[in-house]
């Protein structure tokens, strides 16, 4: 039954990425904010928690290797502090970035957000005192001690994120966000501040991405800037689009299908020829799948579901 252990690993990774998918739904699905900088906020959360929770021993080892010991490993805070810091800091970074960014039109926003993620990446590479550079931070503790319990913790946080994002959808704030998505002029004429609405959606999504980053840092127990590159962002976009943009169940489905079965499941297929052929084919197929969906079923496997008023008011 050790295959279960492997499936659990995949499930943990899928669950953490699903949280990012849900956050992207708040940004793009609800509010039409095409965030192509997901990896950046993922990184902010991961680093915030890693820096705060890394053990003193990590810093000692840095110094041994001839590097000036940085902030990481000075504090050795508990996991919960790291998680809260990740959520808050990703939100604050989102706020600061959002002030100039959210005034842009969607297409410019998309381009600018790629740049923002790149900037965050460079901060992670270069601000040695804070992030210890491209070697990253190691020895990040896994709070539950073992990965079976950790999976349950991730699942719990996924459930909370799912509940939060669903609740956003059906409460007045979600209506305002979707109003902004459909037509900004009308929504503004109904007394809703467009900038503030975009900002609240933006920050909420960024914070959720930060939480996912924290969960990732404590799962992999070692992070480095190289993980937070655009491919992370695109993977989230792909499964969100395939699974069902604007539908939270669809997003979970997309994450399971694309990341779980397709990306990881294909490891079981027999190797054809050189060892790099199968992985390359897998990536090509994922790309083709994306194109096919965007062209023929842009709403994804599961489209947006509109609640009836009777169900809402009950």
């Amino acid at each position: 039954m050790e295959i279960l252990s492997w499936i659990l690993t995949i499930a943990t990774i899928v669950a953490i990425y699903s949280i990012m998918g849900l956050a992207l739904n708040v940004h793009f699905g609800y509010t039409n904010l095409p965030n192509f900088g997901i990896a950046g906020f993922f990184a902010v959360g991961a680093y915030a928690s890693a820096i705060l929770t890394a053990p003193h021993r990590f810093r000692e080892m840095e110094i041994f290797a001839g590097f000036p010991g940085g902030v990481a490993g000075r504090i050795e805070a508990p996991f919960i502090v790291g998680l809260l810091a990740a959520i808050v800091l990703a939100g604050v970074v989102g706020l600061i970035i959002g002030i100039p960014l959210l005034r842009l039109r969607e297409d410019y926003l998309a381009v600018a957000s790629i740049g923002i993620a790149q900037t965050i990446y460079y901060v992670a590479v270069n601000e040695l005192w804070l992030t210890t550079g491209s070697a990253g931070i190691r020895l990040i503790p896994m709070p539950t001690g073992n990965r079976y319990l950790y999976f349950l913790l991730v699942l719990l946080l996924l459930a909370i994120a799912y509940w939060v994002v669903n609740r956003f959808y059906s409460t007045p704030i979600g209506r305002v966000w979707r109003g902004v998505r459909e037509d900004e002029v009308i929504t503004a004429s109904l007394g809703k501040s467009i900038f503030r609405s975009r900002m609240s959606a933006w920050i909420a999504g960024c914070s959720i991405m930060g939480a996912a980053g924290c969960l990732w840092a404590h799962y992999s127990m070692a992070i480095q800037p190289g993980e937070f590159v655009p491919t992370t962002t695109f993977l989230v976009w792909i499964f969100v689009i395939v699974g069902g943009l604007r539908n939270n169940k669809g997003i979970l489905l997309g994450a399971i299908l694309i990341m779980g079965f397709f990306e990881q499941g294909t490891r079981f297929l027999p190797a054809i020829g050189a060892p790099y052929i199968m992985p390359a084919i897998r990536l090509i197929i994922i790309g083709v799948l994306l194109v096919v969906f965007v062209r023929f079923r842009p709403q994804g496997v599961l489209p947006e579901r509109h609640k009836k008023i009777e169900a809402h008011i009950r």
Binding site: E2, I3, S5, W6, T9, I10, I13, Y17, R57, R59, E60, M61, E62, I63, F64, A65, G66, F67, G69, V125, N126, L128, G133, S134, A135, G136, R138, L139, M142, R147, W216, S220, M221, A222, I223, Q224, G226, E227, T231, T232, L253, I256, L257, F261, F262, Q264, G265, T266, R267, F268, L269, P270, P275, Y276, M278, P279, A280, L283, V301, L302
Partner: protein, 431 residues
Amino acid sequence: MKKLSIIAILVIFCAVFGFAKVNTANAVQPIRLGLLLPYTGAWAWVGAGADPGAELAVQEINADPALWPIHRPIKLYKEDTETKSAPAIAGARKLYDVDKVCGIVGPTSATVRSIIPLTKEAGALEISPTAGTTKLDVIGGGINGEYIFRTVSSDVVMTAGMVWWAMNKLPFKPTKAATFTADTEGSRSIKGGVVDACKVVGLPLVTQIEFALNQPSYRAELKELFKKGPQVIFWEANPATDATIFKQWYQMGYDGQWIGSDFANRTSAKGSLPASEGVIGVNPGVLVNERTNAWVERLNKISGKKGATPFSANAYDAVILFALSIEKAGSDSRTAIRDALRSVAQPPGVKVYTYAEGIKALRAGKDINYEGIAGTQDFNKYGDPITYLKAEVMTTKDPSGMKRIGTVLPEQIKDIIDGVLAIRAKRAKAQ
């Protein structure tokens, strides 16, 4: 719609896991060994380079059933890291849990840190043929040299070689040196090694300059660099930046012997010659002798390429060491293999140079010390070997742009390395 998606999931599930249950009923169960490399992604060239080395080793081990380790052949289970940590973790997890490998050869420094906790949990042995940054000297504290080893030398070894070359192989005895390195982590690692090694040999560094890569001009930095007249400049950048630096250095008419690392390579030489005529690079390289030449020829049959592909010798040594450790351990149990590694890899055993030689000596009841293609593969307490280094000079006289001018052997730089590690240990204690 809902039904459709559930069906889709089930179909894919069956398709995927159906394949998993195929080959089980063999007479002789092969020994399962994991190979975890970046076959795709940014470092795909590393995976492509190392893979044939591992294949060659398995071919040689399995060639004669009489010489199989514990009378079973070896089978490689390969997983791709995509040069990213999430797939690397998933891949390693599959190797340990599903494929039930006895150990892993791999991965690169981009992902190795994420794999260490898994290896520790599995109680297995992991030998990385490619992970080379300085920080791996101390990776995981008590873990390294216990769970994690590598058959590639660290930047400490390379920088010790650079400094050793400056002190012993130049036509003059330098008294003033400088560092000129990019502000990337890789270059900082090189700089850190050079600084400590210079302290050990007593070579004063008069100037240390860091710069950003890919700038249009380095005139200001070069002016600053040569203010105090260093005779030797230890540098690391990238090929495009090298081209600018050397052209401007040449135009400005400065002197000085440049010594670089593995970034002083053919790509760099092609871009910066003829200005860089005489610039030296000291970096890992196999020995030039009959044994190595024959090995390269065998490798070429597998890789289809000429010469030794990157990290192929290191991957080859890693697989051979696994096989010898398994024979020594007498089983393919993960912990037993781990415990056996040092007793087949390093002194005091008799030196053996091939797998066949090694296994015969083991069966004759002797202790052995495998001397690999990439290096002697004698591990220090951190699990690091000192591999062979070569020195090359950039020159227009060679069509490739670089000519080999010598070899640096482990015994020549051992003292410098010990000195550097002692300095670092002291510094850690002081904090």
